[in-house]
C-alpha cells in the first residue's frame, strides 16, 4: 500500500488544484473516466463542506490517499479549531452527494475528518 499526503491551504481557490491532484492519482491507478469524475465531485464536496461549516481557515487541509490494488481510501482532515455539529451533516447538499457517489463514507466530527473509499470496478 502506498500512502500520499497532500497538505494544502484551506482556501477556495485551491479547490481546482485538489480536484486535479486527485484525478491524476486515480487515473494513474487505473480508474476509469466516470469513476474519476465521481472522485472530483466527492473530494471537492468534502472540502466545500468544511469551508462552509467550519469558518476558521488559518490551518491547512490534510488529505491522505491510501492506494491499494483494488481501491483508494481518501481522508480529508480540517486541521483548524472549532466544532462541527451533527445538524450540519443532516442539512447539507454536499453530504448527500458524497454519500451517493462514494463506496464507503465515514466521518469523525470530533477530529474533523471525513473518509471515503472508491473501489476499482472488476478488481477484487
Amino acid at each position: 500500500m502506498d500512502k500520499i499526503l497532500l497538505k494544502i491551504p484551506k482556501k477556495s481557490e485551491y479547490m481546482s488544484t485538489i480536484r486535479l491532484t486527485s484525478s491524476s492519482l486515480f487515473n494513474l491507478n487505473g480508474f476509469n473516466i466516470d469513476e474519476i469524475e465521481d472522485i472530483k465531485v466527492i473530494i471537492s464536496e468534502i472540502c466545500t463542506f468544511f469551508i462552509m461549516n467550519l469558518s476558521r481557515s488559518t490551518e491547512d487541509f490534510e488529505i491522505s490517499y491510501q492506494v491499494f490494488k483494488n481501491k483508494i481510501i481518501v481522508t480529508v482532515a480540517d486541521l483548524n479549531d472549532g466544532e462541527l455539529s451533527e445538524e450540519s451533516l443532516n442539512n447539507d447538499m454536499s453530504i448527500l452527494i458524497i454519500e451517493s457517489l462514494s463506496d464507503n463514507f465515514n466521518y469523525d466530527l470530533n477530529n474533523k475528518t471525513i473518509t471515503f473509499e472508491k473501489n476499482k470496478i472488476g478488481v477484487d
Binding site: S12, D34, K40, T48, I97
Partner: protein, 103 residues
C-alpha cells in the same frame, strides 16, 4: 481551469454559457453576472451547459437562487446541453425535477 461566462441576447431571451468549472471559488461570479443580467433585462434565461465541465453544490445553490429570482419575476429559466456527469448531480439532488432541463 477557472470560469468564463459568455452571454448574448437572442429573441429577447438571454443565453448564458458558463465555460469551465463552477465551484465554491467561482460560483459567486456566476451569481453576480446572472443577477445583473436579470436586473438589466428582466427577461427569460437559457443556461447552456455545453462547455460546463464541472459544478458543485455551491454552483447548484446559485442556480437555485437564480430559479427563485426568476420565479419571483414570473420569468422562465431553462437549462440545456448538460453533460452526463453534470446531469448526474441534478439527479442525485432531485434538482432535475425542479429545473426545466432539456438536451
Amino acid at each position: 481551469m477557472s470560469l468564463e461566462i459568455e452571454s448574448k441576447i437572442q429573441d429577447s431571451i438571454i443565453e448564458i454559457k458558463p465555460i469551465g468549472e463552477v465551484d465554491i471559488y467561482t460560483s459567486p461570479e456566476l451569481k453576480n453576472q446572472i443577477f445583473s443580467l436579470i436586473e438589466e433585462r428582466n427577461t427569460s434565461i437559457i443556461i447552456d451547459g455545453e462547455s460546463l465541465e464541472y459544478i458543485d453544490s455551491t454552483g447548484l445553490g446559485v442556480l437555485m437562487s437564480i430559479y427563485k429570482k426568476m420565479q419571483e419575476n414570473s420569468l422562465n429559466l431553462e437549462i440545456i446541453n448538460l453533460k452526463p456527469n453534470i446531469y448526474k448531480l441534478f439527479d442525485i439532488t432531485g434538482l432535475n425535477k425542479v429545473f426545466n432541463i432539456r438536451e
